[in-house]
């Protein structure tokens, strides 16, 4: 039956249902009281990058090859390679700054990094009071342990660890094979022809 105010009354019925429903059903009351309750961010979620180190903070995986600095679209990474007193480059960054007011969290640096050393964090509480220097994350703030990486992203970290272990074994096997070949080469000449 179609009386003139039908649409209006149906609208009232819907809002009434939502009003009453919000007291009983969870999906009718979707607010999360932020500081007390927190939404569990999914594993893939990414905020700002951080550098991974295996054993100690002064030996990060990063070798300051600057690939991420070149590939970063908004150019927010700044790297200076560490040098010992004689000027020989050490495979380590002396300065590694990320300006998180410029970084747009696009994780291209993670994709292009050949040494799996830069990964995306999912800690989103990074607001600061200062505008200039506070928003630049320097090397000490960026360095986080591999254990932390496994804690926040278990699946991804496990995959990365497996890959690194496989590479390490392959390198070790190659080195062992090369050492064996070198040892065989030195052993053959003195003993004459050995079958």
């Amino acid at each position: 039956m179609n009386y003139p105010g039908k649409g209006l009354v149906e609208g009232l019925a819907i809002t009434a249902r939502n009003f009453v429903g919000s007291y009983f059903y969870k999906d009718r009351l979707t607010t999360v009281q932020y500081p007390e309750e927190r939404v569990q961010t999914p594993e893939n979620s990414r905020t700002f990058p951080f550098l991974v180190f295996d054993e100690s903070p002064d030996k990060p995986r990063c070798t300051a090859c600057k690939i991420c600095e070149v590939e970063c679209p908004p150019k927010c990474i700044y790297i200076v390679m560490d040098r010992d007193d004689k000027g020989k480059p050490l495979q380590r960054p002396k300065v590694f700054d990320i300006d998180i007011s410029v970084c747009m969290q696009c994780q291209i640096c993670v994709e292009v990094c050949p040494f799996e050393s830069i990964k995306m964090d999912n800690d989103y509480e990074k607001s600061r009071y200062g505008r200039f220097n506070d928003l630049v994350q320097r090397l000490p703030d960026l360095l986080k342990s591999n254990a932390y990486y496994n804690k926040i992203k278990p699946a991804e970290a496990a995959e990365v660890d497996a890959k690194l272990k496989a590479e390490a074994e392959a390198k070790a096997a190659k080195k062992a094979a090369a050492a064996a070949a070198a040892a065989k080469a030195t052993a053959v000449p003195p003993a004459g022809s050995v079958t």
């Binding site: 990474i77 700044y78 200076v80 300065v95 700054d97 410029v102 630049v136």
Partner: protein, 188 residues
């Protein structure tokens, strides 16, 4: 069906059409038309029953600094016959005073804002455009920013991670140098 250049030459007397190929994968050849006959070709493409290109999808300006001209590209589609893009290209010399191209807004109303944008960013003046004003930049802006030889104003704000020309300019005119940029860096 998409008209061939011969058919267009027949339809519009005295037009000079050159086919500009694209990559073999994209296979979207374009028709470079000279400036005088552009409007006639456009009207023909729009009103010809077999073409009916009445939907002008995209108007773009491209600055070929090395070759010395600015190119305006029109992508036309037909809504009635649903067939693919016909691409019209027209070239104008880069110097601001000679950079004139006949406007196609009288033919397709949709080009109005897009041609204003090409004028605003590239400086191509469209003759016959009903309301040629700047659309994206503010009115007092004099330059045309998308040209390849455009030099942005040297306003070095605080930038903790400076790179290449910003770093050079900061060192040159003594801008505020963030500590990390001062770290001595020996060229590899």
């Amino acid at each position: 069906m998409i008209p061939t250049s011969e058919q267009l030459c027949a339809a519009v007397p005295g037009v000079v059409i050159e086919i500009v190929p694209s990559t073999l994968a994209a296979a979207q050849p374009a028709m470079l038309v000279d400036r005088e006959h552009l409007v006639a070709v456009a009207r023909y493409l729009k009103n010809e029953p077999s073409c009916q290109f009445e939907f002008c999808s995209c108007v773009t300006g491209v600055d070929y600094l090395a070759k010395g001209f600015i190119e305006v590209v029109y992508h036309l589609y037909s809504v009635a016959l649903k067939h693919g893009p016909v691409i019209l290209k027209v070239r104008a010399p880069r110097e601001l005073d000679q950079c004139h191209v006949p406007s196609l807004t009288p033919v397709w109303r949709g080009c109005e804002f897009q041609e204003r944008e090409v004028f605003d960013l590239y400086g191509v003046k469209f003759d016959g455009h009903p309301d040629l004003r700047r659309i994206l930049m503010w009115n007092e802006f004099t330059d045309h920013p998308m040209r390849k030889d455009y030099v942005p104003p040297a306003d070095y704000e605080w930038e903790p991670t400076p790179h290449d020309e910003v770093l050079k300019r900061a060192k040159a005119d003594g801008g505020i140098m963030p500590p990390s940029a001062l770290a001595t860096e020996v060229k590899k």
